[in-house]
Symmetry: C2
Subunit: 224 residues, 2 copies
Amino acid sequence: MAAAVCLVSGGLDSCVAAAVAARDYPELAFLHVSYGQRTEARERRAFEAVADHYGVSKRLRLELPLLARIGGSALTDPSLAVPEGPPGEGIPITYVPFRNANLLAMAVSWAEAIGARGVFIGANELDSSGYPDCRRSFLDAFQRVIDEGTRPGSGIRLVAPLIELDKAGIVRLGVKLSAPLHLTWSCYQAEEVACGRCESCILRRRGFAAAGLKDPLPYASGAL
Amino acid sequence: MAAAVCLVSGGLDSCVAAAVAARDYPELAFLHVSYGQRTEARERRAFEAVADHYGVSKRLRLELPLLARIGGSALTDPSLAVPEGPPGEGIPITYVPFRNANLLAMAVSWAEAIGARGVFIGANELDSSGYPDCRRSFLDAFQRVIDEGTRPGSGIRLVAPLIELDKAGIVRLGVKLSAPLHLTWSCYQAEEVACGRCESCILRRRGFAAAGLKDPLPYASGAL
């Protein structure tokens, strides 16, 4: 069985997705994409730490300046504030237009070039804050693009092992697979101590709480 | 009616696709992507010239180092020779894995950010040398990814006006729409005078010959 390319941001979800890939594939290749997100230096450190943990030698670190240049997202635009509190209704301001299509296209190009058969992404529908490119229907459509747009016989399968899990389920799965959750970084806002208040921190902390487990990360803000 | 984002390489096909967009949309936005192709400086000059011709002020020039870093294509890997002569059977060595998915993902992100309704690509199935990501079925699948992966109501339509044309048909359409074909660049190999012998030059020259029209570009090699 061939290798799997894992999109690894350094966050909780992609770490657990990589743990599933490590269980199911004999070799992993880790892809990290910096696209101008506020906390990218910290995420990148988490990426390297998770890659070290799994002994991954095939690592590709890419820049995708597009998403910061087109603006419009609080995740990449310093003039927009990262919202605090739990996610509201609708598509939040941290949405980066069509981000996952860009990340998946890069991962599939690499997979085709190295003959990998799996492409793993940590997308999940329930706790994805309403981002349209985190839905099952989007990923199903992308599988079809892979089937049509790669060499015949490339046989690349897009795997989103967390797609139906909520954050508590992701935490539980990560713990079950001994994923190095202590090495991950989720905060959208800070790089030293996680703020504990941005929507990504809140989703994460609620997930650990609902799973009845202690989050190994310290937070600047004590109360959930 | 809103703007259209055009993927413009600087080559013949994307110039004619942009000419169709100029006919059908009140405003154009031109996207050029350098991905390490051998002749990218020359292509980029052609891109700027075509953009000037159409008075396009919204121009985005991006780098996508991924495709050169993963290698495996004569188009981006200096250690592989660009083949001469007409294309053979199967997928040629100039194929860049899943290239068009990467280009389209970037174009759609930009389109979503600026509220454009069209995304134009010069892909064509007949003369595309067997690249899987130039086929109608690939583009249809990508439209579905756009529908699923962008904000509800974004209404972005992927338009490939050349998809069913052969090179002669593309040349004829370009002439009919007064596309600035003299400003374009197709050669895969050279940046000063087009070689006339690589598969891209040969497809282009045959197209002009079959259309009964004179190619405005000079070639280093006289005989077709």
